[in-house]
């Protein structure tokens, strides 16, 4: 180790200035990136709010409760009731199906499969994420829809008492919210699987060994050490998946029938989502129609923010148990 003091004694300037300049360049770059993100977010929010305000001022119906979407009629009426319901319900169905399966696949890859199977298998799942959504949409309408009949009539017969799974009309192609939910589940599966798999892999070996040494079977070890440790990761991964499900456009638009009536019968054709509605109507919309679509976009923006905020709160509430301190 050489000491800096002899150089100082000979009156040389220490080389600290350069490193400080490097520091300040890096500091400003990273701060700039952070500020840029805020500016972009604010710009999107501001733009959407401004255009929404224009449209909402001319709306003759109640924006929140109206079913119709006819902003370009002589008497403009449009509301987000159908869209909110369709978006939330299809995303919810997708999450209910996808999250348990994704966690299962992630556990299989990280803790059960032999390494030479796990690696290609993980790659295969990642590949699912690379399929363009229009391909999912086409697969949905050409394969899934024609093959859903058996399942939907089974559900109608045995789960019809739940009201939401009763079919009012049979024999119609099931281009409904339930089918969309299943399609979305397949689409969000890879991202949830990939993130949870990485989280499960990061569970410290010593926690797994602690459980095993107490006499835990492999499943008990996963329940005591892996799942609790991975919980924040599972929530974060689900939020990423949910974000995609809420915003998915083209696949939903391809599968869903264009009659956008609001129905609580999830197996009946119809319904709509924010993104699907915008994609279908934007091209033919008049200026007011476009602003109205912006307003619906703003609602989707806010819903996404709320959902993410809620997830943050859930994760933060158990922060001291997160294992970050260990």
């Amino acid at each position: 180790m050489t000491s800096a003091s002899p150089a100082d004694a000979r009156g040389r300037t220490p080389r600290r200035r350069d490193s400080r300049r490097g520091d300040s360049i890096f500091f400003n770059l990273s701060r700039g990136a952070g500020v840029l993100l805020l500016v972009v977010m604010a710009a999107i929010a501001g733009f959407l709010t401004y255009r929404s305000a224009l449209a909402l001022g001319k709306n003759e119906g109640n924006f929140l409760t109206t079913f119709e979407w006819t902003p370009d009629a002589a008497k403009p009426v449009f509301g987000i009731a159908v869209l909110t319901f369709g978006t939330l319900v299809s995303a919810l169905i997708a999450m209910i199906i996808a999250v348990p399966i994704a966690v299962g696949i992630a556990l299989f890859i990280s803790h059960y499969a032999p390494r030479r199977i796990a690696q290609p298998f993980a790659y295969l799942v990642d590949l699912l994420a690379a399929v363009p959504s229009i391909v999912y949409g086409l697969w949905g309408v050409l394969f899934l829809v024609p093959h859903m009949g058996g399942l939907t009539s089974w559900m109608d017969q045995y789960l019809g008492w739940t009201y939401i799974f009763s079919q009012s009309s049979s024999g119609v192609p099931p281009r409904n919210l339930f089918t969309v939910g299943i399609l979305l589940a397949i689409m969000v599966l890879p991202i949830i699987t990939a993130v949870t798999r990485e989280v499960f892999r990061q569970v410290p070996r010593m926690h797994e060994e602690a459980a095993l040494a107490l006499g835990a079977t492999r499943w008990e070890m996963i329940r005591t050490a892996v799942l609790p440790f991975g919980r924040p990761g599972i929530i974060s991964a689900s939020m990423l998946g949910l974000g995609r499900a809420l915003g998915e456009t083209i696949a939903v638009a391809t599968v869903l029938s264009t009659n956008s009536k609001l129905t609580l019968h999830l197996l009946d054709p119809g319904g709509g989502t924010f993104a699907e509605n915008i994609a279908l109507k934007f091209n033919e919309a008049q200026p007011l129609g476009r602003d109205a679509l912006m307003a619906s976009g703003l609602v989707l923006f806010v819903i996404t923010l709320l959902v993410n905020g809620a997830a943050r709160v859930i994760i933060a509430r158990r922060k001291e148990y997160s294992g970050a301190a260990a």
Partner: protein, 258 residues
């Protein structure tokens, strides 16, 4: 409680690499046996064969026999999960479950065994934490996360967790190597108290520690890098540290190598 361990002809492998070769020894009940030796000599590997934790590493396997009183731990019908319930283990780095409270950490093993009754669990928590000399420090915050304790307290929490299931044998793999001297002293005192109930085996790099806590000491060594570790000798601790029968032991203890 507290059973005799009788090992004969035991070798352990990682894949095709033999880590320890042909080890035979008897470990007396209600005593502390220390394993010493240079790094890589296989003492931790050997320790992990005593509760079948060695085989959780992919590709690892064991040959030979470990008798716990009259039961062979490597017998054909023996469930490794059951073995680990009767042979507890404390690890090198304190590893309380980070997602659990102090209370839940202590009862984790019991819950795995299916004990659910609150009154039973409460009793075990107090008894185990008393046994680990931790009760007075944590009795007012049993529902706080275990990871919030200091390193020494975490290690005593791990000891409480291990003794809560009332094992026959307690294995300790360098339990003080991540702790400061005061916490180390607390653990050493604890080991002295626990040996009245359990058969204790401790791996340590600290020869003073071996001399302080153990009744018997086993010295392990390896012929060279890549060679399997072997048991050189096992004798009363006092003899090992004053007048060992093998030259290599004396060289190691007096600091001439290792």
């Amino acid at each position: 409680m507290a059973k005799r361990i009788d090992v004969s002809g035991l070798s352990a492998y990682y894949g095709s690499t033999r880590a320890i070769e042909d080890i035979s020894m008897t470990i007396e009940p209600r005593s502390v046996t220390a394993f010493i030796g240079p790094s890589g000599c296989g003492k931790s590997t050997f320790l992990r064969t005593l509760n079948r934790m060695h085989e959780v590493i992919p590709g690892a396997r064991v040959e030979g026999k470990v008798m716990l009183d009259d039961e062979n731990l490597y017998g054909a019908n023996v469930d490794p999960v059951a073995v680990r319930r009767s042979v507890g283990m404390v690890f090198q780095r304190p590893n309380p479950f980070p997602t659990m409270s102090i209370y839940d950490n202590v009862v984790a093993g019991l819950k795995l065994a299916g004990v659910k009754k609150k009154s039973v669990l409460d009793g075990v928590v107090e008894k185990s934490l008393q046994g680990a000399n931790l009760w007075n420090e944590v009795k007012d915050r049993l529902n706080k996360p275990g990871a919030g304790l200091s390193g020494g307290q975490q290690q005593r929490l791990c000891i409480a967790r291990a003794i809560a299931v009332e094992p026959e044998v307690l294995l300790m793999d360098e339990p003080c190597s991540a702790l400061d001297p005061i916490s180390t002293l607390a653990i050493e005192d604890l080991i002295g108290e626990l040996k009245s109930q359990f058969t204790i085996v401790i791996v340590t790099h600290n020869m003073q520690q071996a001399a302080r806590v153990s009744d018997r000491t086993a010295f392990f060594n390896l012929a060279g890098v890549g060679q399997p570790g072997k048991l050189i000798e096992l004798d009363d601790t006092q003899r090992i540290f004053s007048n060992p029968s093998v030259q290599a032991t004396e060289d190691y203890i007096s600091g001439r190598f290792g």
